[in-house]
């Protein structure tokens, strides 16, 4: 049996999405007109779908488009062909994390993995740990801005001092081991 094409692989990652297959795309551009982030994307969502359907795997995976998707689902609710476009962006994010292929310098993949690791350790998220995943990759100006904001929040009693954790953490970790091979995640 022939190996699946790239567009089939991406389609197969959408088993939980209820929308139409990507092949239903009519390239109308409603998604691109709706998306609030297109100015910052290498390809608009419409072009990205076109590239997937043309099996242009390298171009797709090298683009920042899906890592710039903020999960606002505006494209999804407006697509006249009923394609779940935001969910497609999620599928591409998972694909790029699994394959360890993404555009250099993107913070998104590191941030997502750090976030998940934090939660697998304690059951709850904790802003100061999150910060470490991206502050090293940003400039001095951003660092100062973040520090000023954190100080302001702390003065208002809005910054956690100790990392929170759930009570039944042992059960929680065993639960996770049942569902997914951890592979050094915890």
């Amino acid at each position: 049996m022939a190996r699946p094409s790239f567009s089939q692989e991406v389609g197969n990652l959408l088993y939980a999405a209820k929308g139409s297959p990507l092949s239903a795309c009519i390239q109308c551009g409603t998604c691109s007109g709706t998306c609030p982030v297109t100015d910052f994307m290498d390809y608009t969502p419409r072009r990205l779908i076109g590239l997937i359907l043309a099996d242009m795997k390298e171009e797709v995976l090298a683009s920042n488009t899906f890592w710039y998707c903020a999960s606002c689902f505006y494209c999804t609710v407006r697509c006249p062909s009923d394609i779940d476009i935001a969910e497609t962006m999620y599928a591409l994010k998972r694909y790029s994390i699994w394959k360890h292929i993404h555009q250099e310098g993107l913070v998104g993949p590191t941030f997502s993995e750090t976030f998940v690791k934090t939660i697998l350790r304690s059951g709850r998220s904790y802003e100061p740990i999150m910060a470490t995943s991206y502050l090293f990759s940003s400039g001095v100006k951003e660092w100062i801005q973040e520090a000023a904001m954190a100080t302001g929040l702390m003065l208002k009693g809005r910054m956690p001092v100790l990392p929170p954790r759930i009570k039944r953490l042992d059960n929680f970790k065993r639960m996770i081991e049942k569902v997914i091979p951890l592979g050094g995640q915890s």
């Binding site: 939980a16 609030p36 982030v37 100015d39 910052f40 920042n64 890592w67 710039y68 903020a70 999960s71 606002c72 689902f73 505006y74 999804t76 609710v77 935001a86 999620y90 994010k93 998972r94 994390i97 993107l106 913070v107 998104g108 993949p109 941030f111 997502s112 993995e113 976030f115 998940v116 939660i119 059951g123 709850r124 998220s125 802003e127 995943s133 991206y134 940003s138 951003e142 801005q145 000023a148 904001m149 302001g152 929040l153 208002k156 009693g157 809005r158 910054m159 956690p160 929170p164 759930i166 009570k167 039944r168 059960n171 929680f172 065993r174 639960m175 996770i176 049942k178 569902v179 997914i180």
Partner: protein, 289 residues
């Protein structure tokens, strides 16, 4: 008395503490009891689904199963918690094989997903289960003359659940009208605040926040009102950064809808967590009781 299981979510523990306080106080005042899940975990925001779908469903299912144990529908005040939990509940109800698989994992924490409760957003619960008419009857301190920009953001309405209006819903404005405030037309009310792009793609997120602030200011809003901690944080805490990048001088308070609701119900500033903003909510001072 109406009772719901309550999933506050990580943000409401600290950075959005005032949302938690005002949620508890206002619902109690209106005769609704929120019973906090005894050991809830993080919903995963957008990150779980970036890494692994099955893991994401399992973590959300754990919270649902705790609510099922109490035989109560689950209420979440955070739009991301709501969206993840709502759609996990739906996916597991529609796919018994997936539910079976996840139940094997949940058994490690003596929990089980049966699919017999509903998941609601706090704002939706107040508007639908209590109702704007009922709210209006309980208002003792109408917020007359307060011009509010009702900011829906994303995940409270999107993805679409059934055939509801996702382009121009009005339930948020209706609630604001019920408490005597004046919901001004806010063209970008459905547009994204940038979410976690603030961390991963800062330039893009600041652009999105700039557009929202500009639209709110041009609309003549006294305050922006939100129903999500991430929207609140992005729009409030990053105003100085936006001003620095765009040479603007935005100074618009961003408050939770429960804080306005509480004020209208005659609750004190302190009990609603007012005073913990980075941009003081001075337009609300005249309504303090």
């Amino acid at each position: 008395m109406k009772q719901f299981a309550y999933f506050p979510g990580c943000s409401l523990e600290k950075i959005a503490l005032s949302y938690n306080q005002s949620t508890i106080e206002t619902t109690r005042k209106m005769g609704v009891e929120l019973k906090e899940l005894e050991d809830w975990n993080c919903c995963g925001a957008t990150a779980y689904f970036h890494v692994d779908e099955l893991l994401a469903y399992t973590l959300c299912a754990r919270n649902i199963a705790m609510a099922e144990k109490e035989h109560l529908d689950l209420v979440a005040p955070c739009s991301a918690c709501f969206k993840n939990t709502y759609f996990t509940n739906r996916a597991l109800k529609e796919d018994p094989d997936l539910a079976d698989h996840i139940n094997v994992a949940l058994a490690e924490d003596d929990l089980h997903f049966s699919g017999d409760i509903e998941v609601r957003h706090l704002l939706e619960m107040i508007v639908e289960d209590i109702g704007c008419e009922q709210v209006k009857e309980q208002v003792s301190n109408p917020l007359e003359g307060l011009r509010v920009a009702t900011y829906y953001g994303c995940q409270i309405v999107r993805p679409q659940k059934d055939h509801e209006n996702v382009e121009d819903p009005e339930f948020f404005e209706n609630l604001m009208t019920a408490i005597g405030a004046d919901p001004i037309p806010f063209a970008l009310k459905m547009r994204c605040c940038g979410g976690s792009l603030l961390i991963s793609s800062r330039e893009a997120a600041l652009d999105m926040i700039f557009n929202l602030l500009k639209c709110a200011e041009d609309s003549g809003a006294d305050v922006i009102v939100t129903a999500c901690p991430l929207c609140q944080i992005n729009l409030e805490c990053y105003q100085p950064q936006v001003n620095q990048e765009y040479g603007t001088s935005f100074h618009i308070p961003v408050v939770y809808f429960t804080q306005l609701l509480g004020l209208a119900l005659g609750l004190s500033n302190k009990s609603l967590g007012l005073g913990t903003e980075l941009i003081a909510a001075t337009p609300l001072a005249q309504y303090a009781t």
